[in-house]
């Protein structure tokens, strides 16, 4: 079991920093965020993990671990990746607030998206068109809307 250490930084106004380990605490959220941004940009560029790895002299497993946040990306590597992917260094930290947490809007939007996806899945799972129409009517009535009158 890895030892978890704590230290108090006097310059940080008494804020306590806890040393994290991937095995005990899981990947650091900031590393995960940076990895997520890396993956997004790679996908937008249409590059596979293997191709990106080849450009920076890494295996595709190393790129996988960067993307999941299991491995931290060193400053020099991040600089290399930013150049290859043609983005500024700040791109990898976009969406993080001042405290280093992902902005809440993104999480809330994701929850809404998942919920909408579940509702749609359940709706189209109803095979009987009359039942589907009835469900739609109930939902619109509950939402206080009158602009949809079923199928």
């Amino acid at each position: 079991m890895a030892k978890v250490m704590s230290a108090t930084d006097p310059d940080a106004g008494g804020v306590t920093f806890k040393r994290r380990t991937v095995i005990v605490d899981g990947p650091d959220p900031i590393d995960q965020h940076v990895g997520g941004q890396l993956r997004l940009r790679r996908a937008q560029s249409g590059m596979t993990q293997t191709e990106l790895g080849a450009k920076v002299g890494l295996s595709f497993q190393a790129v996988q671990k960067y993307e999941t946040g299991e491995n931290r990306i060193s400053a020099s590597r991040l600089y290399q990746l930013a150049r290859i992917l043609d983005v500024p260094l700040s791109y990898f930290f976009e969406g993080l607030d001042e405290t280093g947490h992902a902005e809440e809007g993104a999480g809330a939007a994701e929850l809404t998206r998942k919920e909408a996806s579940m509702v749609l899945g359940a709706y189209y799972g109803i095979k009987d068109p009359r039942l589907r129409s009835a469900c739609l009517l109930i939902m619109t009535r509950m939402a206080g809307r009158t602009d949809v009158d079923g199928e």
Partner: protein
């Protein structure tokens, strides 16, 4: 979002099959979401939604389509039952009849409603390595396995797109040990088969059972499987090849299956039934 450059363009009518936006980008979004990459999932979902507002990106960039062959005429099909003959003639040369033993490699089942399912297990090395979606996908999966990285979070959607398999791909959650609780997390939008939330929900029971059995076999063995399927479900005949690939979680338990389908000639043909 920029449309990924490495993703092949598909004909517009395939891509825009869904009223909720681009089916292709939505499928990519779902895969990214399941793999745990919310940034990319959200970006794909946003891009899918833009199709409705700004027009389909695939339609604006796709090449002129080659002329399509006319749709196949429905094949007349008579459903009938032939009772086994009890007075079968004994061979004149006095040869002994041997009991028929069904091959392990072929499994046939049918029901009284005329539904019929034939599954043939194929060798994985029969897949061509180049120019075939299933072969490309299997090669990619083999690379992942060789590197000990067969977790679903390691999947690369760009590789899936390059294999040109998006839309003909299901993702099945098999984390529950009871096959009746398996469910589809993604159902290939281009697969011409009735869509259900879980394999056991299919009204043709022999079909549902064969799906659950095959999925459970891969879950239990953690080994990929390749099948050739020929089946008549209701009034439709299906012919396709299916590759099932297992993916495991952190504890090396198979929790997800990637099911890829390659349609064979004569797939999704409507059958005319009559007596």
């Amino acid at each position: 979002m920029h449309v990924p450059r490495g993703i092949p363009q598909l004909p517009a009518e395939v891509v825009c099959a869904s009223a909720e936006g681009c089916s292709y980008l939505r499928a990519l979004s779902t895969i990214e979401h399941i793999a745990g990459f919310e940034h990319t999932a959200q970006a794909y979902a946003d891009a899918a939604g833009l199709c409705r507002e700004q027009g389909c990106w695939a339609a604006s960039t796709s090449q002129p389509k080659p002329p399509q062959p006319e749709a196949a005429e429905p094949i007349p099909f008579k459903a009938f039952y032939r009772a086994p003959r009890s007075d079968a003639a004994v061979p004149a040369d006095g040869a002994q009849t041997l009991p028929f033993v069904r091959s392990d490699l072929v499994d046939v089942s049918s029901d009284s409603d005329g539904n019929y399912v034939e599954r043939r297990v194929l060798k994985l090395d029969s897949l061509p390595q180049r120019g075939d979606p299933l072969g490309t996908l299997y090669e990619y999966w083999s690379d992942l396995r060789a590197a000990g990285a067969c977790r679903f979070s390691n999947i690369d959607t760009v590789q899936l797109a390059r294999a040109e398999i998006i839309g003909k791909l299901h993702i099945v959650d098999v984390s529950n040990s009871d096959p009746h609780n398996f469910h589809f997390e993604l159902f290939g939008y281009a697969v011409p088969i009735a869509r259900y939330e879980s394999p056991c929900a299919h009204p043709v029971k022999i079909w549902a059972e064969s799906l659950m059995r095959d999925y459970n076999t891969v879950r239990m063995s953690a080994a990929p499987r390749l099948h050739r399927l020929r089946c008549n479900l209701g009034d439709t005949s299906h012919h396709y090849t299916r590759l099932i690939l297992p993916f495991h979680d952190k504890r090396a338990r198979v929790t997800r299956l990637l099911v890829a389908i390659r349609e064979e000639p004569g797939n999704a043909v409507q059958l005319k039934t009559g007596h």
